[in-house]
């Protein structure tokens, strides 16, 4: 079937089977400083009544723009330049602004991505929900108030009546998203557009929210258009799937069928990179034995002779490089007046990391995993317990010893946009640790920077570029290169791939695995994403509320989780048990 044939699906043939939403050859572009940039190039999507459809794609694929175009919520510079958006046979691109206001909320509900910023912090929850209800119905006064309570109860807030007067900051992220879903569904729309509705939430919260949303939309017979980057979520929650790439639809059809048997090369690539519980640890293509030894003798980081090291490797005896023993971190939080409360961010945590291996620290937000990273990096002081690095107590390090420690333990942080100084060129950024430790002269530093860029697979010309010109993945490579500059023994990766698209994420993970094999690096890998853990980690520590609830080799944790919390985490991963095409 060609595109033209798909477009010419009859719309009036049969009342019941007529699609609720039909997007025909949609074109959207943005006016920018550098001229007109097309973002959506001829997209066709058909969604029937009561159906659920997911649009998946990387950032910049045009998936959100498509959704925003439907209810004319395009940002200022965006404009629909061609095609039709037929909603119940009416072209939404042609209707007036006031007609669009009737459609928005009333017939098409919208759940935005970020529950943190989409509720107005100066109005209470009751006011904001009631506002939506008044706008989309003729209810006023007490009736509107009663409906507000009803809507919030349906959205899963049991004590809704008591919480009307509360403000958004008194709600958790999950509860705010419930409120937004409540608002989106309050007028019983025929179509609900959910733009990455749970991306900002923990997996366990995501699961309950999505379950609830599924129940509601099934009960009301609402069609749902999911926008997501998560293939697992798409296959678990949607019947229909549309894969977008660079503003075009590359593949569309039954979700399970596509993900089990992707036909377009892009979809195949995307499916292959999607981490799931069925994944295995990435194996390095580079040969560890030879390069490893070369690298180590090159660094001179180890006192062991090559033979002794080789013996140890063969015997499988990896000496522990980092030992964390009964570590606690307590923050004093100022309370009203002069009172203080203690927050145990890290509570009696013990684990150890063997040289040359990867240990993952997994947990949801607030589990204390990032605090552990900061303690290991000595960016925060330890409250009690100890961290031993290569036989030395880390907390006692001062002056030159601390500098030497910093040289051997390097960080890569989560936000690739924040961790590189925007006014520094890539070359200066990577050379900074060399300058801070007064290594080499200008010329040898330049040479080292080029070598490092090559190691992270970036062209040497990147040296003169600035972070604002690079993508998230490229920035993260720069951050890795900077961390490698001093030939460290340990790299602490704090959510280092969490902000990246799945293909780029896969690329960085492979790079990290290769570097580990080549340079004998030890990784402490902090993440909230269990599926990623399976790809890179040898050992896993699962954290919950500051404590480690389970420590085991990776395969044991996945195949035979002991702790209830670990089981719940694994269960909550969307599409966990779906067998993606490999």
């Amino acid at each position: 079937m060609t595109k033209e044939q798909i477009m010419s699906i009859p719309t009036v043939a049969d009342e019941t089977s007529a699609p609720l939403l039909e997007i025909r050859d949609l074109q959207v572009g943005f006016k920018t400083q550098r001229g007109f940039v097309p973002a959506v190039k001829g997209v066709n999507i058909t969604l029937g009544a009561g159906q659920t459809l997911a649009i998946v794609g990387e950032s910049g694929s045009g998936k959100s723009t498509t959704a925003q175009a439907i209810i004319n919520l395009l940002p200022g510079a965006g404009k629909v330049t061609g095609g039709q958006i037929l909603f119940e046979g009416r072209d939404l691109t042609k209707i007036s602004a006031s007609e669009m206001e009737q459609v928005r909320g009333g017939q098409i509900g919208y759940v935005p991505q970020d529950p943190m910023s989409n509720l107005n912090p100066v109005w209470n929850i009751g006011f904001q929900v009631e506002e939506a209800i008044r706008a989309n119905s003729n209810l006023t006064g007490k009736a509107a108030r009663a409906r507000t309570v009803e809507v919030l109860q349906e959205a899963g807030l049991a004590d809704a009546a008591d919480r009307l007067k509360q403000y958004p900051h008194q709600f958790s992220g999950g509860m705010r998203q419930r409120v937004l879903i409540g608002i989106g569904l309050s007028a019983r729309p025929k179509l609900l557009i959910a733009d990455e509705p749970t991306s900002a939430l923990d997996v366990t919260v995501q699961r309950t929210i999505l379950d609830h949303l599924a129940t509601l939309t099934r009960d009301y017979g609402t069609s749902v258009l999911f926008i997501t980057h998560d293939l697992g979520l798409a296959v678990e929650r949607a019947e229909q799937l549309v894969v977008m790439y660079k503003g075009q639809v590359v593949e569309a059809g039954n979700a399970r069928e596509i993900l089990a048997n992707p036909l377009h090369p892009y979809t195949q690539r995307l499916v292959a990179a999607a981490p799931s519980l069925a994944s295995r640890r990435i194996q390095s293509a580079r040969r560890p034995e030879t390069t490893d030894h070369m690298a180590i003798s090159d660094i001179g980081a180890s006192d062991d002779t090559l033979i002794a090291r080789a013996d140890k490797r063969e015997a499988g005896v990896h000496p522990d490089l980092i030992t964390v023993d009964h570590l606690s971190k307590i923050y004093n939080i100022r309370q009203r007046g002069f009172g203080k409360t203690e927050l145990r961010a890290v509570d009696d945590v013990s684990f150890s990391i063997a040289k040359g291996t990867t240990t993952a620290l997994v947990g949801e937000s607030g589990s204390g995993k990032s605090t552990v990273a900061k303690l290991v990096l000595q960016l925060e002081t330890i409250s009690s317990g100890s961290i031993t690095f290569d036989g030395a107590d880390v907390a006692a390090l001062k002056g030159a010893d601390l500098l030497a420690f910093r040289r051997r333990v390097q960080p890569v942080f989560q936000d690739p946009y924040g961790s590189l100084d925007p006014v520094y060129s890539v070359g200066n950024t990577i050379a900074e640790p060399l300058m801070a430790h007064k290594i080499g002269d200008k010329k040898s530093r330049q040479a080292r920077v080029r070598e490092l860029l090559d190691q992270v697979a970036l062209p040497a010309s990147t040296i003169n570029r600035y972070p604002n010109e690079l993508s998230g993945g490229q920035r993260q490579r720069i951050a890795v290169a900077r961390a490698l500059a001093l030939k460290p023994d340990v790299i602490v990766l704090d959510e280092a791939v969490s902000a990246l698209d799945v293909l780029v994420q896969g690329q960085i993970l492979t790079l990290l695995t290769d570097l580990q094999a080549e340079l004998g690096l030890t990784y402490l890998f902090i993440t909230h994403d269990l599926a990623v853990v399976r790809l890179v980690a040898d050992n896993v520590c699962v954290m919950q509320k500051g404590r480690i609830v389970e420590t085991a080799p990776t395969d044991d944790v996945f195949d035979n989780p002991q702790d209830q919390y670990t089981q719940r985490l694994l269960e909550a991963i969307p599409g966990a048990h779906f067998a993606f095409a490999r």
């Binding site: 079937m1 060609t2 595109k3 066709n44 790439y245 660079k246 075009q248 639809v249 590359v250 593949e251 569309a252 059809g253 039954n254 069928e257 596509i258 036909l263 377009h264 090369p265 892009y266 690539r269 960016l379 601390l402 500098l403 910093r406 040289r407 390097q410 960080p411 942080f413 989560q414 936000d415 946009y417 924040g418 961790s419 590189l420 100084d421 925007p422 006014v423 520094y424 060129s425 900074e432 640790p433 801070a436 970036l458 062209p459 010309s461 990147t462 003169n464 570029r465 600035y466 604002n468 010109e469 993508s471 993945g473 490229q474 951050a479 900077r482 001093l486 293909l503 780029v504 690329q507």
Partner: protein, 316 residues
């Protein structure tokens, strides 16, 4: 490439030739490297207002440095009372003041005083305010509290009012003392802005990254924090140059700025007010010169703000 024979009913696969896939995450090496400063330059470069303001400022600077190039008449010699409030004539395009002096040459020679005060005051305020603000914001604690409260004291006194009081007790009134006095009351504004910007930059991830790399605290301040916090200070400094020139004129007008023996627009405006009804032109020309100068710096400040605005500099 086979076209759509991959598609089946209900399963659409795009034509491969229509949807070519690129390598993952490549760098476009053809584009030239752009720092945020070169971005700022590019955005200023295309604004006509930038070039107009720059051209005006260059002319003003030239006039203040070499007034002799623009006027052959010495401003105070050849003042002939019979010419008092006379209209324009050959060689004297703006006419004469009440004292019979050539207005054109007085306007030209008055530039130096105004521009000197403006530049000097801005320089002093920016240097002192930025250094104090940066240290206070970066190190925090008792030093920050002390500097902030001390700054608040100066902040509470209106610049002009404070300057009037201080100038009236100073024995020696020159361009330098006027600039100094203005700077004394104006630095807290810059210090506050710098402090706020430094606090924001201090808590950024790249500072944490540098700390973990082993860069010393002072190096981080100089190499990372200040370069990222300086933009708003530059914006305010460019704009405040104009206000300092106005302040000088105000003080001179009130008779406690530069002494009457020094040629300045403020003095001329002050003297012209007595004849404003009979000869408005005497007031008009120095006032126009003042306005154009202030406007040029404000225009430049406006363009600079647009170019350095953090929102405009955001991820592109």
């Amino acid at each position: 490439m086979p076209s759509n024979n991959l598609s089946t009913p209900g399963h659409f696969v795009a034509d491969l030739s229509d949807t070519p896939i690129a390598a993952i995450d490549t760098i476009d090496e053809s584009e030239k490297a752009r720092s945020s400063w070169s971005d700022a330059w590019d955005s200023m470069r295309v604004r006509p207002m930038f070039w107009i303001a720059t051209a005006l400022i260059l002319v003003i600077l030239l006039v203040s440095l070499f007034p002799g190039l623009f006027s052959h008449t010495a401003p105070n010699s050849g003042c002939l009372l019979p010419n008092g409030n006379g209209g324009p004539e050959a060689g004297h395009p703006f006419g004469f003041t009440r004292q019979g002096c050539d207005i054109y040459s007085r306007v030209i020679f008055g530039t130096q005083a105004s521009v000197t005060v403006g530049l000097l005051a801005t320089l002093l305020v920016t240097l002192f305010g930025a250094i104090v603000g940066a240290l206070a914001g970066y190190y925090g604690g008792a030093f920050d509290a002390l500097v902030s409260r001390f700054g608040d004291i100066f902040f509470a006194i209106p610049t002009i009012l404070g300057a009037i009081v201080l100038m009236s007790v100073l024995p020696d009134r020159t361009s330098i003392t006027v600039a100094l006095v203005l700077a004394i009351f104006a630095w807290p504004q810059i210090a506050r802005i710098m402090r706020g910007a430094v606090i924001a930059a201090r808590s950024s991830d790249y500072v944490m990254a540098s700390t973990a790399l082993g860069v010393s605290k002072l190096q981080i301040l100089v190499r990372h924090v200040v370069p990222n916090a300086i933009a708003p200070v530059i914006v305010v400094a460019t704009t405040s140059l104009g206000t300092f020139i106005v302040a000088e004129a105000t003080l001179s007008f009130l008779g406690i700025g530069l002494p009457p023996s020094v040629m300045s627009w403020g003095n001329d405006i002050s003297q012209a007010r007595t004849s404003i009804q009979t000869a408005p032109m005497v007031l008009f020309y120095p006032a126009a010169a003042l306005s154009i100068t202030v406007l040029s710096f404000l225009m430049l400040g406006d363009v600079v703000r647009d170019a350095l605005d953090p929102q405009a500099r955001a991820r592109r």
